[in-house]
Each structure stands twice: as C-alpha cells, then as structure tokens.
C-alpha cells in the first residue's frame, strides 16, 4: 500500500502507453487462437470449428506455401548479407576521404533513400525499370544490353529486390560503422606510421579489426529478420508474373487472409513467422550481450 502511495505517479505515466499496447499489441495476440480453427468471420472465434494443427500441416504440405517460405528465406538472407557487407565497405572507403565538405555531400545523398517510402521508391522503380523505354533499360540498350525484364522475370525480380534494398539502405546502415571508425584511437595509426606500415596495411591490421566487434553485433542482431523479406518493398514491386520466385510470407498472408478470406490458415502462417522471429531475436540478443556486452533496454 505504501508502495502505491509513493509510486502512483510513475504507474500513471506508463498507464496510457500500457492501454494502447493492450489494445493494439496484446489483444491481437489473443486472436492467435484462430490459427487452430477453421475460422469463419460470421461464426466468430467461439462459433468456429477447432481443427487442431491442421492449418500448420497445410503450411508444410501445400506446395505454394513451401515455395513462399523458401522465397522468403532466400531473399531475406541475401539482403542481410549484402546489407552488412555494403555499408561496411562503403564506410571504410568514405573514411579515407579527408575533405569534410565532400564527405558531408556524399553522406547527405546516400542517406536520403532510407527516408523515402517504398511507395515512392516503388513508383520510381516501376518508371525507370520499365521495359517500355524506362531510363535504365534505355541506358542498357545504348551499350547493347537488354531490354531486361527486371520486374517481370522471377530471377531478375529477386536481383532487383535485393539490389534496390541495398541501394536504399547501405548509406544509412553505414552510420554505425562510421561512428566506430571515428572512435579508433589515432595513436594506433601513428605507431603504425612510425613502423612504416602502408595505408593498406593499416587498414588491414588496424581499421578492420577495430570495427569487427560492432560488425558482429550488427550482423547478429539482424538475424531476427531471417523471415522478414520486406513486405513494403515486395508488395509495391511484385505482380502475378513473379509470384513463383518473389512471393514472401507477408504478402502471402495478405492475399490468403485479407483478400482470400482464409483467415485461420493466414493466422497460422503469421504465427509461424512470429514465433521463429522471436526465438531468433532472443538468441541473437543473448549472443550480442554475451560477446559484445550490448544491451538495448
């Protein structure tokens, strides 16, 4: 009682956020029971038939859903890899620039795409990648290549999705590496200089080892996204022609559940994704905490 008397203002401050979380995060979690039902909206949760794990069995028996899981993992893992390597490399090259004005100019331009939504970027990409005289295909044709069906051919679609995602995010992703590079003790370089080490040797033996810890942390924390292939991007770029290679869990859930009305099955797919992602997140944070003493909350 004395606890409440002393601390009620603190509880009151969290209360509004708590109510919102209950309504929009925890209430939907209760809806997960639909994953174990043949859910019919007009019968509701209490009236729909319980089907046990049938929906999950479908998930692993249906050819289309297995293909979707595979697409998701392929696209997501390639994105994770290149979204680590590209910012890392870019940061090291940018770090060699000694003119501050040029450095800031580059930074301003490369961070920008991160803040534009995939609707805007999707609109731009549809325009410049079009085979009907799009900007990129015009350039390719002038050097004797193409036209390439970037968004109409399954394999090219995957390439387009990965390249455009790296294009959007590499600059922003480099910020954390640039911060780490700025924190390297200059005395290390001075000592290497005295020993006659070339800049290449310095990069190899000082720069790269110095930013390895943060690279491992960033790479580990990204593991939670193995089933996140990027709904916004795929949804705004894909079309019926590339479903086979480009359809991912989130877009599949939307089409099956919201458009198709097969809500029990769609909930089961969503649950499958959420549980695996959560486990991966906990494991990766554990690792990051153990190895690099990284803590977020």
């Amino acid at each position: 009682m004395t606890h409440l008397k002393k601390y009620w203002p603190l509880h009151l401050m969290v209360l509004p956020s708590l109510l919102f979380l209950i309504a929009f995060s925890y209430l939907p979690m209760a809806g997960i029971v639909m994953a174990f039902q043949d859910f019919k909206p007009r019968l509701g949760i209490s009236g729909s038939k319980w089907v046990g794990l049938d929906n999950f069995r479908f998930l692993f028996e249906r050819e289309d859903s297995m293909q979707v899981i595979w697409n998701t993992v392929v696209i997501a893992v390639l994105k994770l890899f290149f979204n680590l390597v590209a910012p890392f490399t870019f940061a090291i090259f940018l770090n060699e620039v000694r003119k501050d004005l040029f450095k800031r100019f580059v930074q301003t331009l490369v961070y920008l795409p991160h803040f534009l939504s995939w609707v805007i970027l999707g609109g731009i990409l549809l325009n410049v990648l079009s085979t009907d005289g799009g900007f990129i295909n015009r350039i390719l044709e002038s050097i004797g290549i193409g036209p390439i069906f970037f968004l109409g051919d399954g394999n090219w679609f995957r390439v387009t999705v990965i390249v455009s995602d790296v294009w959007k995010e590499f600059g922003y992703g480099a910020i954390v590496f640039l911060a780490a590079l700025a924190n390297i003790n200059p005395a290390l370089y001075e000592a290497a200089e005295v020993d006659g080490a070339s800049r290449w040797k310095q990069t190899l033996h000082i720069t790269i080892p110095s930013i390895m810890p943060i690279t491992i942390v960033v790479g580990t924390l990204a593991l939670g996204n193995v089933l996140n292939a990027g709904f916004d991007q795929i949804f705004n770029l894909y079309n019926g022609l590339v479903y086979e290679k480009g359809d991912i869990l989130d877009t599949f859930v939307y089409r099956i559940g919201i458009l198709g009305g097969n809500m029990g099955f769609a909930t089961a797919i969503g649950l499958f994704k959420s549980v695996i992602s959560m486990v991966l997140i906990f494991v990766s944070y554990r690792i990051a905490y153990k190895w690099a003493n990284y803590r977020i909350f």
């Binding site: 609707v119 911060a179 070339s198 800049r199 909930t267």
Partner: protein
C-alpha cells in the same frame, strides 16, 4: 606520411570518383522523375526525357492539384501526421520517465519493461490485428490511422535512454524542493529534453507520412485515403478511378507526367524535413544503444 605517397594519391582520385558516382546513383532516379514531371506529355511518352525537363510545362502539377481526391488525401495525411506525432511524443515522453528508473528504484519497472519488449519482438500477425480493428469499430474511421501506431516502442526506448543521460542531481534537487514526479517530468525534464523530442518528432513525422498499408486496410473508400495510400493505388496498382480525369484531359496530359508529379509531391515533405533530420539522426542512433 602515407597520404603523400603516389599510390595513395592515385587511390584518392579513384576513391573520390567512385564515391561521387555512388552518391549520384542514390538520387538520379529521383532527378529523372522530377524531370519527367516538368516535361510535356509527348516528350515523356516518347521516352525523350533524361535528367532535364523537355518542353518545360507545369501541366502535370496543375492536373494533380485540380484533383479533389488528391487534395483530400493530402489533408488526411497532414492530419494523421500532426495528430499521430503529437500522441506518439506525449506517450513516449511520459512512459520513458518511469522506464528510465533503475529496477531497484521503481519496483514496477521490471514488469513494464517486459511488457514493452515483448510487444516489440512478438506480434499476433496481420489477420488477428485486422480483426481487432474491426472489433473496436475503427474500420473506416480516421482514427484507425492514428491510434494503432500511437505507442512507438522504439522511440520510447530512445527517449528512455536520453532520460538516463540526464544528471541524477537535477532530479534529486527538484525532489528536495518538493516537486513530485509529474512536476519534475514537465518542469525539469521537458526543457532539457527538447533536442531529443525534436529528433523523435522528425522520425515520427516521416513514419506517419510514409505509412500507406493501414490506409489500404482500414479505410473503405478512396476518399478516406491518406496521400501515401492514394499514391499506392494510383501509381502502383494503376487504379485510375480516383484520378477523376475526363477523356479530353486524359489525351492532353500523359499519365507518366502526372504520376511523376504525384511521386514528387509525395516525397516533398520528407525532402523538406530531411536536412533537419540529418542533423539529429546520427545522435538518435547513438542514443539507441547503451554500451556498458
């Protein structure tokens, strides 16, 4: 000194050229679309436009502004961005204060922080979420664009980490003077938190302005769409019913140029806040991670 060697100088030249090309690659698509938006229909349709307008005209922008559905979606976007950002900031500011306490100082903190973290790493998925919106009678309501995303856990954590950086003495002094927690929060913490609030506000503005999927899911008709959703349906799904064009004006202007104009108007607010955002976000990212 390494940077005086010949090989390093050669490297610098190539490095500069490489970085220059890379950064241009990040904005050239946007520049191309801007050029198309200012070009005449015939030039755009014949694919003559590269990075500079051909036969400069404002026709596409005039057509865009004349479309009442476009204007209304712009208004919906402004409304949701202002209301959504204010609500997000208020909630994050208040919740961050108790969460910034040590577990030993505030017994409730442990459970609260788990509630926040769990909601961040786990979710019920799209379909149950959709059902909840329906059950709460938010379907077709403007508030479906504001309320579900009101608590931004990521921004709350940023705020919390900022509060942890405020010297304890400041707070203790206020307490000794007899100020309660609310007074301390709004009289002592608020003024010193302005830079952090500005950072979070900019992030939240960009987030709300860019959100399009909720508009597609929770509104019933195109006259309730926020701008991002309007653009998604017109440009990505090529749904021309909301373009309100009569055949005669259809012939006069190209869908290409109008689309380009709409894309650019949709990106404009983000481009406008971007310089301010850039000043802050590096700090914001650093705020996000505590190394101990």
């Amino acid at each position: 000194m390494y940077h005086k060697t010949l090989s390093y100088r050669v490297f610098t030249v190539f490095n500069t050229i490489g970085l220059l090309l890379l950064s241009l690659a990040c904005i050239i698509p946007l520049v191309h679309v801007l050029a198309v938006s200012f070009s005449a229909k015939s030039a755009a349709d014949a694919n003559l436009v590269n990075l500079w307008p051909v036969q400069f005209t404002l026709e596409a922008y005039k057509k865009t502004i004349d479309n009442p559905i476009f204007l209304h979606s712009l208004w919906v976007s402004v409304k949701r961005t202002v209301l959504g950002t204010s609500l997000t900031l208020l909630l994050a500011f208040m919740a961050a204060y108790p969460l910034a306490k040590e577990n030993s100082d505030f017994k409730g903190r442990t459970i609260y922080s788990w509630i926040f973290v769990f909601a961040m790493v786990f979710n019920g998925g799209l379909v149950p979420f959709y059902m909840v919106i329906q059950k709460l009678h938010l379907m077709g309501s403007f508030w479906a664009l504001v309320l579900p995303g009101a608590v931004n856990i990521y921004l709350t954590i940023l705020m919390m980490n900022f509060f942890r950086g405020i010297p304890k003495e400041l707070q203790e002094a206020a307490m000794i003077d007899g100020a309660g927690h609310f007074r301390t929060l709004f009289r002592i913490f608020l003024p010193v938190s302005m830079p952090a609030i500005a950072t979070l506000g900019l992030f939240s503005i960009v987030f709300h302005w860019n959100s399009w999927f909720d508009g597609l899911l929770y509104t019933n008709s195109s006259d309730q769409y926020p701008l991002a959703t309007f653009l998604q349906t017109v440009i990505i799904q090529r749904d021309l019913t909301s373009m309100s064009l009569d055949p005669a004006s259809m012939a006069l202007i190209s869908q290409k140029t109008v689309n380009a104009a709409q894309i650019f108007i949709g990106a404009l607010p983000v481009l406008l806040v971007y310089p301010f955002l850039q000043k802050f976000f590096v700090k914001g990212l650093v705020l996000g991670s505590v190394k101990e």
